[in-house]
Symmetry: C2
Subunit: 227 residues, 2 copies
């Protein structure tokens, strides 16, 4: 089986997830980001050969090393439109220093990911595997080692990734997973983690903040509150 | 392989999906419900032995027959707390008139369901299969023919179904599917159908209403508009 690495871009721990403000303070959002990253790394570590974290933020890079991840520093990551450049740059670094390998790119805010997801992806015989996020994005992108594919994360990236695969006659699989689709951007998303993430560090942290979840009859599904 | 039937409860076409009002008029919501039901029946028909629709609403039952479904009339369905009673009643009718069979219960508002989902569920060797909806509910419940299991649809039913399976020492599988998790209750949900349901009758209908989707930076993911 090919070597497989996981690549996780992290813009920074500060001033992130602003849609959770003022529901969570700046320091609470920083802690949340760390616990989510810890969950992801813990859950996937044994099912990949190596985990790489790319960031321009020293705090992120230090934390990544504390999680025994390999790091890639990118001075530009975090600026608008630079995410995909940072991923292309990282893949070139990885392939140069680590050798030709399959790459799984995931965001840093999907704490419900499980090793079974990675095992499933590794067993695919497609050139590319794409997993939808809620709201039209992509929460997992698998690129086989000898395949040219340019990440197009951002608005409605799921369709963009499907289009790119189609245009280039690549075989692709849509990996249909609810747990992968849940990235954390809004209070409602925290509610999903409270409901489905009971074994995660993220859940444990949110519980300590006395966050509770009720059903909602409004435009969002879950009424997420702090007691 | 066991006989498998699909059971779909439908409360009624009128005064439903009120969270989509005033985004959609009453007659548009009625049409939406019909197209969603048509999508579901079309998508699953070939992968089950029979589709049963239970309702108290004559218009629903007439429409179900026009889709070549078998119908079960339940005078109580549609009142609060009666959904699960109607399902228990329907399962007893089905097993008496149709013979012992596996039952797949799904709601009537998940137009992204595909035959592959049913095929996957049929291949499970668990007593029960449970699929999460966004917001803590259940969007698919499979009950093997010789298994006693009481549907507990409603608020946070996903955990209730897991608990029931655990309490009764039943083997169960969580079926992790994004497409199954999308039920249509809010304008945001219509956005997911616009993004992921391009081959559905529901999509075709919503397109005719000039519904468009943009990314949102607010508490909901998608900014769904009518031009």
């Amino acid at each position: 089986m090919n070597k497989v690495v996981c690549l996780i871009p992290v813009s920074g721990f500060s001033d992130s997830k602003t849609r959770l403000s003022p529901f969570l303070s700046s320091s609470e959002r920083r802690a949340l980001l760390k616990f989510m990253l810890k969950d992801i790394v813990s859950n996937i570590r044994e099912s990949v050969d190596e985990v790489f974290i790319v960031s321009r933020d020293e705090e992120v890079l230090d934390y990544a090393m504390s999680l025994d991840c390999r790091i890639i520093e990118d001075k530009n990551l975090g600026e608008a439109s630079s995410l995909n450049n940072a991923l292309v740059y990282s893949m070139s670094i990885i392939r140069r220093e680590y050798g030709l390998c399959d790459v799984i790119i995931i965001p840093s805010d999907i704490p419900l990911i499980r090793k079974e997801h990675v095992i499933h992806v590794r067993s695919s015989d497609s050139d590319v595997v794409i997993s939808p996020s809620m709201g039209g994005g992509t929460n997992l992108l698998f690129i086989r080692k000898d395949v040219d594919f340019i990440p197009e994360f951002g608005e409605f990236s799921f369709d963009k990734h499907l289009d790119q695969a189609g245009r280039n006659d690549l075989s692709y699989e849509v990996f249909d997973s609810f747990y992968l689709s849940v990235d954390v951007n809004t209070p409602n998303d925290l509610g999903e983690i409270m409901l489905h993430g009971k074994k995660t560090y993220t859940y444990e942290y949110l519980s300590k903040l006395d966050i509770t979840v009720e059903n909602s009859r409004s435009d969002v599904r879950l009424n997420v509150k702090r007691d």
